[in-house]
Symmetry: C2
Subunit: 687 residues, 2 copies
């Protein structure tokens, strides 16, 4: 059951696809109050209550105990005390012995979530705008709540099948030659690879939809050559359009009046990579169409995927903000400087980027009416994604494109994936990435993954290996790093062969993982889930923070600690551990329900299978296009024959019907006395 409550006159956010009448009675589960414009929802928490949701946010799977703030924020050095990340996903489930409901604030402005922070026994959710649709969802289980929310908000984005391949990326690939070398180093060593991302370096002066003709002389030819080798190029597009007369996207945007305006009606501008930029008003349909059309030349040159970046939007600085900082310096020069003044000055310079004042200084046009940006801030990235996705659907309605964004809001999950934002080469960020994944799935973002190895800071070899072992299972599997950090392509490390074998496991599992992903996406389910969803009455499972469910019958439990050669795992039921070293070299260890200490040297990582749920391994390959998805080894903990429905399609059908793409795969019962591992069926299959 979904009930809707409307406060004030909410602006259209495109977050939901169901049109529901607003209820008139009191909001259930919460005490409602007003604080000026604010709408405040208060609810007592029982000691056992857990909270799931909020998608992209720091800390654990269970969100209880911290104060979060929905406000899309470009903050690559985030820590456990960062209240906002790049995306805002305002859906939260309350789950406890006597509690089960979800709350979604369809509100594109600031929302704060005091989830037992101020008082450990109380949750307080505050909408700053006070203009919103509030949805209360009630179902019989966590899983049904998630499905119900997907019914409300629509089907998750479907990437093309090649987007499940390994993607190599780095801010700093400065030429076609460099990218070709990176690709060749992978191919030469048998390291699977499906795509290379082009970061801002490919552009001319960082201008969207241009490319440096000196360094990338013939993009069509380059793209074609790479595709010959089954490698796709995935260029970046930023939100801002450089304010420069003669630069076609600026000229056409200016002519159309498509940019965000200041209060006086002039175009708002702020500096980002290219310098002074204007910002497309993605809230206007005509502006979205204009912006989407700009992708066409790159598509025409053979590109089939993009990543949309800087779309919180990130603002490096505005003229006003810099002028104010410079004035402050001037004041200090002529007066007395004490430590407070100096610290204040440091704060002034650190506060120039993404300054709240700047976000209050420009406007969107919504249905002909100006709306101040900060009131709808969290939609900006989502609407950029919408512009791009709509354009792709216009250009080629018969194919799926790869698209993933940094900023997002609920609703954007229908149009693209997201990466988990710029992160650091930190063990704590590896753990945070794992913990974020089930909550992203709950909010609809199934195609996601973190910057493997970490974007900022210098990676260590063991951390990269462990990141990749998580990445084996994330739909988006991208190794990405920042300029001036240690080079992070796996072939640069002494243990590259084990890392390659980790990637080879990904490719051996790819048809299976793709099947699990598509089945989840097409049925409104979750690819990753908290353990609580499968074992709601097992308190240990409910509180497990470093293991997550994958697909119908799997669980992952990566090693998350430096220098560790093993970890503890809690099994909520009997499971089969598959401990991988390579697709050909793995251990099969049936384990009973309960606690286990498992060994995992740096080159080993486990996957756990529920009883009766087979895992399918194909022979692998160097790219998704060269995979054989007809020949499998099936592994299954079972005492009887089981059937698995394998999803397969052409890899680009934009609107597949689930039932039409399922192949029943029969796994026979283990032959008594013949299986090398008692109770485990190991079968060779040709479909």
């Amino acid at each position: 059951m979904i009930r809707k409550y409307t406060f004030g006159t909410p602006l259209p956010t495109d977050a939901v696809v169901l049109s529901l009448p607003a209820e008139t009675g009191p909001v259930p589960f919460f005490t409602l109050s007003r604080d000026g414009d604010r709408v405040v929802l208060t609810r007592p928490l029982q000691p056992e209550d857990c909270l799931f949701g909020l998608g992209e946010s720091v800390r654990g799977i269970n969100k209880r105990g911290f104060l979060y703030r929905s406000w899309n924020n470009d903050i690559f050095n985030h820590t456990e005390s960062t209240d906002s990340l790049y995306s805002s996903h305002t859906f939260l489930i309350f789950f406890g012995p006597d509690t089960l409901f979800g709350v979604f604030l369809d509100d594109p402005g600031t929302v704060t979530w005091d989830l037992g922070y101020t008082r450990s026994d109380t949750a307080v959710i505050t909408s700053e705008n006070g203009q919103l649709d509030l949805y209360i969802l009630e179902e019989d289980s966590l899983t049904e709540l998630a499905r119900s929310f997907r019914r409300l908000t629509g089907r998750s984005y479907l990437p093309p099948r090649w987007a499940f391949g390994y993607i190599q990326s780095r801010w700093g690939y400065a030429s076609e030659a460099e990218v070709r070398t990176v690709a060749a180093e992978h191919r030469k060593r048998g390291i699977p690879l499906d795509a290379v991302c082009l970061d801002i370096d490919y552009m001319e002066d960082f201008k969207n939809f241009t490319w440096r003709k000196d360094a990338f002389p013939d993009l069509t030819r380059f793209s074609a050559d790479m595709k010959q080798d089954h490698i796709r190029l995935v260029p970046i597009i930023d939100a801002g359009i450089k304010r420069e007369k003669g630069y076609a996207p600026y000229d056409s945007g200016k002519a159309g009046g498509y940019f965000c305006k200041k209060e006086d009606g002039s175009d708002f501008s702020a500096a980002v990579w290219p310098g002074d930029c204007c910002f497309p008003d993605f809230f206007r349909e005509d502006a979205r169409r204009w912006f989407g059309d700009l992708y066409q030349p790159l598509l025409a040159s053979g590109v089939e995927g993009f990543w949309n970046d800087m779309n919180e939007p990130s603002l490096f600085y505005t003229e006003d903000c810099v002028a104010a900082a410079f004035r402050r310096v001037e004041e200090l020069r002529s007066g007395n400087v004490d430590y407070e003044a100096m610290w204040g000055l440091k704060d002034v310079f650190n506060g120039i980027a993404n300054n709240p004042e700047d976000y209050r200084s420009f406007y969107h046009e919504v249905n002909g009416t100006p709306v101040r940006h900060d009131r709808v801030h969290n939609l900006y990235g989502a609407f950029m994604t919408r512009a791009t996705a709509d354009a792709f659907r216009r250009f080629d309605p018969d194919r799926r494109f790869l698209l993933f964004s940094r900023a997002s809001f609920i609703g954007a999950h229908r149009n693209g994936g997201i990466w988990q934002g710029d992160n650091f080469s930190w063990w704590s960020h590896l753990k945070m990435a794992l913990q974020m994944l089930p909550n992203l799935n709950l909010c609809g973002f199934l195609y996601s993954g973190c910057d493997l190895g970490g974007f900022g800071c210098n990676v260590t070899e063991d951390l990269l290996a462990r990141f990749l072992q998580l990445g084996v299972f994330t739909p988006l599997m991208r190794n990405h790093s920042a300029l001036h950090t240690r080079e992070q392509e796996i072939y640069r490390f002494s243990t590259w062969e084990s890392m390659r074998d980790t990637l080879r496991v990904r490719y051996a599992l790819l048809p299976f993982l793709y099947s699990e992903f598509m089945k989840a996406a097409l049925s409104g389910g979750m690819y990753f889930r908290p353990l609580a969803f499968d074992y709601p009455s097992d308190p240990r499972a409910v509180r497990t923070e470093d293991q997550i469910m994958l697909g119908e019958g799997c669980m992952i439990a990566p090693v998350l600690e430096q220098n560790a050669v093993g970890r503890y795992v809690y099994l909520p039921e009997d499971m089969l551990m598959v401990r991988f070293r390579s697709p050909e070299d793995y251990d099969l260890v049936p384990l009973p329900k309960g606690d286990h200490r498992i060994d995992c040297s740096l080159r080993e990582f486990p996957l756990f299978l529920k009883k009766g749920h087979p895992l399918l391994l194909c022979p692998g390959g160097e790219s998704t296009e060269t995979l054989d998805d007809h020949t499998f080894t099936a592994l299954c903990l079972t005492d009887r024959a089981v059937t698995y429905d394998l999803y397969r399609d052409n890899g680009f059908d934009p609107d597949p019907v689930l039932a039409e793409h399922l192949t029943p795969v029969s796994v026979p019962a283990p032959a008594a006395g013949t299986s090398p591992v008692p109770g485990v069926a190991i079968s060779a299959l040709v479909l």
Copy 2:
């Protein structure tokens, strides 16, 4: 066996107490090379090798896999990628199946430790100065290596017994009235308390050795009143002396010529809290004596303990550095500002504090010769501590004083304790604090502890509770928080009663913990140790990163995760778990060697006892002075009678002889069939 190798002409550091002849042969274990002035030591690492040491540093107990840099650094927002903290402890043990030796670089300049970072199979240690005494230590065990290093560097500092009580602290206590209220709130609720720290707020304009007469009108009276209530005041002293004529410490320092000089012979100055400050040249004996004498008026008013801060030294800014930043702003105003320029400007302002250029711009006088500061940087805090401790010994040779410092170098462990530096209210800092403790002990710093609850950022209630549960076992047990953060006194939280009970456990254990501490300190042992020291041939124990040994027979394993109600524990042998809720309410659970999942709700925390090692609980009290240390309950996993040597003294004897203070305590065997927990002796004792 300790061997010494001398490179160049090292300056005296006061780190060692043994005078050894320098060897002439090659340095064992390492390949030695030169790179300009640098001395470079290279050693291959075997896969199983673990590295212990480096005292105050980030990351795990095993230091392998990262690049550390010894350079005392005021950096409260440190993360896992921070290479330098407040102290430099340049002792490292190499431990593996075929490896056991220690290396100590008695070098007060920058030392880098590439411990398997650049290449995972190689350690590279680099002295930038290239002028040092290098010590190679070889013994038969890790424990003997630690003892050998203590023989080389001298006995650890002994705090007075009251310093093992709970200390409440906050940057922001602005008046006597406020401190009295804080103390009263503790006493009123039965929360034990032995001391309150006074942060910089007590001083007049942050000037050392002054106090604000408006807010603290009569320090002698105030101190006496508090002591009546068994609470001591512990004021802060910073390194810098405000440059202000008429301010006595400045005038006397200036007259004596005791300040650090610039190249031209004028006094170097930089801004810290009070504004422009000069820095005592603690490298000169006469300056140390002058500075130490300045403590006397505060001591005369009844103060018995101090904390020395800002002694890396922290430099907020110098005139030169600010002028350069302002010039850079001027250049930008007149030219073109792009994102690189703006980011550069931000870096300029962020780089004003603790600027490397500033550390190269002043000099110490060492044996009459000027020595540039950066070459001996890591000694500054240690020599401030030395000045203070020497003065205390002069003023009252018959008593121990409390002294703990932020910055330190090896050698300072003889003169004072250290806190683990300004930290954050982060779960990751709780874990880091635990992991740092055994390495601090290895380097001689037994009296230590972290800012419980976290200094910066806003604490959450559960995090504070878990910090306190670690703090029960740390010799220095101080709750400390920063101005503008959430108030952190435990009575401010809804679950204060369980936190009080946690503190009551500390006081019930205090005679026992004090005994363990003193026995370790007086015998050259370690109060906290990595598990590897007790179980060197157990690979699981060797790699355990979230449990540490305490004293002769205990192990601690705090809960380190948000929302956790239990944790995994590895027992390297059969042990008795004592799970505390209060001194009167605990579970006794004998557990066999191996892996265990233990429940620990937010108010519970465990201690583990080896077989035959009793734990003594006294009735507790509200202060160390009112503790009854003659009446005990002894708990012991044993099948026979055991004896424990309880250390007791008057709490202030500066030079106790271990054997003279031991009382043998007999714990009878558990009476068959009568003990409520089979195999566990529970005895009431009166000594």
